[in-house]
């Protein structure tokens, strides 16, 4: 019982992911700033923002559905935390693992976007509603490429379990190289999921203020922002587990250090991507995802099918 509570609240649960998420936000912001010729925030800035927001009053708009409005940040953070429990961190085995955990993780990572939609929609403000509608429109554009790109290595390893996948890839190291295209696609889709430039359309500041989060403030916004930071960590961990499953046989300590390096590397790639491009329009984003990214994801899938047939 104590161990379970420790796992949920301290490691690898809430406390660890929260600290890691805030660190990830710091790394992202600092890299972004350095690449833009700025100094960037000090290391405690994300934590300071969190504390400042938490100290503020919660305001629920008069027209909003108060229950949904207050529930959504908590639902978002819970689903992300749950997804993290299935991430392998210090080797090929996660804390909780079963056959098919990959599908559960992907499912749990879709829930936050739905909470942004519901939270925004039930705020009953024009900006929030447009932002909410955009989140959902965007969801349909990036989810398919993301699923396909993660499905390809899973199919190659012939399993739905993250742990078994990493076991397969450590015995067949060459197979990692087959999925480089999938890795790029997954990074693009992750940018869409995390609503970062060029896909920060749902919260385009200069158009619709803060999108779905316009009416949020105080503790509720703090929780939402923490959830987004954690989503960054969980998304990067998922990609690290699926696409970079090397160096797993050196014991827990080295494995954990390597895991951190991999996640930070993926966060670095995300910062780089958002430094060098402008925000797309929603129609351009959907065109790009369906006409370029999704066919490429199919290509990756077919390539893996052929490789699998050839090596059998």
């Amino acid at each position: 019982m104590t161990e379970a509570l420790f796992n949920i609240f301290v490691f690898p649960g809430f406390l660890f992911v929260a600290v890691f998420g805030l660190t990830a936000e710091y790394v992202d912001r600092k890299l972004y700033a350095l690449m833009q010729n700025r100094i960037g925030p000090p290391w405690f800035q994300p934590l300071a923002d969190f504390i400042k927001l938490s100290a503020k009053e919660d305001v629920v708009p008069q027209n909003a559905d108060a229950l949904v409005f207050k529930m959504m940040p908590i639902v978002a953070i819970t689903s992300i935390l749950t997804a993290f429990l299935y991430m392998p961190m210090w080797g090929s085995k996660a804390l909780f693992a079963f056959k098919g955990d990959l599908v559960v993780v992907i499912y749990l990572l879709t829930v936050p976007t739905l909470t942004y939609f519901l939270g925004g929609w039930y705020s009953r403000s024009v900006y929030s509603m447009i932002g909410a509608a955009r989140s959902l429109t965007q969801l349909f554009a990036y989810e398919i490429p993301l699923f396909l790109s993660i499905l390809a290595p899973a199919m190659l390893a012939d399993t739905w379990s993250l742990s078994e996948m990493s076991v397969y890839f450590s015995t067949h190291p060459w197979a990692i190289l087959c999925n480089l295209l999938g890795f790029v696609i997954a990074i693009i889709a992750l940018l869409g999921k995390l609503e970062k430039v060029p896909f920060d359309i749902p919260e385009a500041e200069t158009e619709i203020v803060a999108g779905a989060f316009t009416e949020y403030g105080g503790r509720l916004l703090a929780i939402f922002r923490l959830a987004i930071d954690m989503e960054l960590v969980v998304g990067a961990s998922l990609l690290a587990a699926v696409f970079l499953p090397f160096g797993l046989g050196y014991g827990p300590a080295a494995g954990f250090a390597l895991y951190l390096v991999k996640v930070l590397f993926i966060i670095g790639l995300i910062s780089l991507a958002r430094t060098i491009v402008a925000r797309l329009r929603i129609d351009q984003m959907i065109n790009f995802c369906w006409k370029v990214v999704a066919p490429l994801a199919f290509l990756q899938f077919i390539a893996d099918l052929i490789i699998k047939g050839a090596t059998r």
Partner: protein
């Protein structure tokens, strides 16, 4: 998004806007079907204030019409005053005026490039251009002592001379800026997302640009070959050689190309000015009282043609000053460019005319055509309206006024 119309107000307070202004958009999904602009949040009554102050005071006031093109307005005003007074400004003074105006154009266009980047979510472009803009700001501070309101102009010339030591510093900064601008041209023409976001957005045909009276880079990007510097040369532009940049894209991308092209021309002009600048005095003594008369002065500000009208009556104060800032000429085309566009393009289309709303703002008086009633109020009516409004809210000023009176009397 359900296919019904949504009314979205942008402004007067909105992250898109740098100044208070209100745009009411009617949306069908992400498409804009209608738009109305409401001016008047930032009216400061500068024209009226000018009539109550002397010419010297007005010069400082007019310089504060706009925070970015401060030199444009003060030069435009002073040109009109000098014309009425019949003053011959020394050549060196005119050269220094022209130098400042070109440096101002450089800083304004770099600022615009950054704002455009910000509006389309390209933060890096904003950070880079504004970093480089510091170079030209430093040069302006070196020459005039100020970064924004230079205070260089005076009636009959300029207040400060340029020393020989300053010239190499200016030239080296211009060289660096030219190098960086070439890089931005490369980014602008090769970065795919940037080009995607700017091309085909905010279309304005040549006919519409002429018909709606667009000025400056907005008009030139639609192929209207018009520039006061060449068509009606003031200061020393008649002695300098430069190209007027035009473009046939007729969209925001074209406006970007025109502005970066003008940056390159401005670097050329600054070098020419420093090379050709003659020696001599920079200012002639001007009379305190300006003889009766009137004059219109035109000036090519970074945002387009600026027009000032001054009427003098022989005293030390002008009888009437009228400012037609370039944004006033351009603001009409915004509604036209936004029609049938996307909501996502609104910020960049509005930003593409490089608006300066506080320069433009007018006091607006409407008259109801049905009953002929105006919304104008005289001072006693406004006072009464205010008191009634607050008493309806449950705030009574009668008690406070009585207290204030007793306090004053006891003192």
């Amino acid at each position: 998004m359900p296919e019904r119309e949504v009314k979205l107000t942008i402004g007067p307070q909105h992250p898109m806007l740098k100044e208070p202004e209100s745009f009411l958009l009617t949306l069908r999904g992400e498409k804009i079907t209608d738009m109305t602009v409401r001016l008047g949040y930032n009216h400061r009554g500068i024209e009226k204030a000018c009539e109550q102050r002397t010419y010297i005071q007005d010069m400082y006031l007019v310089e504060r019409v706009c925070g970015i093109c401060s030199h444009s307005h003060s030069t435009c005003f002073i040109q009109a005053v000098e014309e009425i007074a019949g003053l011959q400004v020394p050549k060196r003074g005119l050269y220094i005026r022209t130098l400042i105006s070109e440096l101002e154009r450089i800083h304004s266009h770099l600022l615009w490039l950054g704002v455009a980047g910000h509006e389309i979510g390209f933060g890096t472009l904003l950070m880079y251009t504004w970093r480089d803009r510091e170079l030209v700001m430093d040069i302006l501070a070196l020459i005039s002592g100020n970064r924004v309101n230079y205070g260089m102009n005076t009636i009959g010339g300029v207040r400060r001379d340029i020393t020989a030591e300053q010239i190499p510093q200016i030239l080296s900064a211009i060289d660096t800026l030219e190098e960086r601008t070439k890089y931005y041209i490369q980014v602008g023409t090769q970065e795919i997302t940037l080009r995607e976001r700017l091309s085909g957005v905010g279309k304005l045909s040549r006919e519409d640009a002429t018909h709606l009276g667009a000025v400056g880079p907005t008009a030139r990007a639609s192929g209207v070959n018009r520039d006061v510097r060449r068509d009606d040369p003031y200061a020393v532009y008649g002695e300098l050689s430069f190209n007027v940049i035009t473009d046939e894209h007729s969209d925001v991308y074209g406006r970007t190309l025109v502005r970066v092209g003008e940056l390159m021309e401005s670097y050329k002009l600054v070098r020419q000015i420093l090379k050709q600048m003659p020696d001599g005095p920079v200012v002639v003594k001007a009379p305190r009282k300006i003889p009766a008369g009137q004059a219109v002065s035109r000036y090519e500000a970074p945002r387009g043609e600026d027009v000032h009208y001054v009427k003098a009556n022989g005293s030390d104060k002008p009888e009437r000053v009228k400012v037609r800032a370039p944004t006033l000429a351009n603001v009409q085309v915004v509604a036209h460019m936004l029609k049938d566009g996307y909501l996502a393009d609104t910020p960049i289309v509005i930003a593409a005319i490089d608006p300066c709303f506080s320069c433009t703002d007018r006091a607006i008086a409407t008259t109801n055509i049905d009953n002929g009633r105006t919304d104008r109020m005289d001072w006693p009516t406004l006072r009464k309206y205010g008191i009634d409004w607050y008493s309806k809210q449950g705030i009574d000023f009668a008690e406070l006024n009585r207290k204030l009176r007793t306090m004053r009397e006891s003192n």
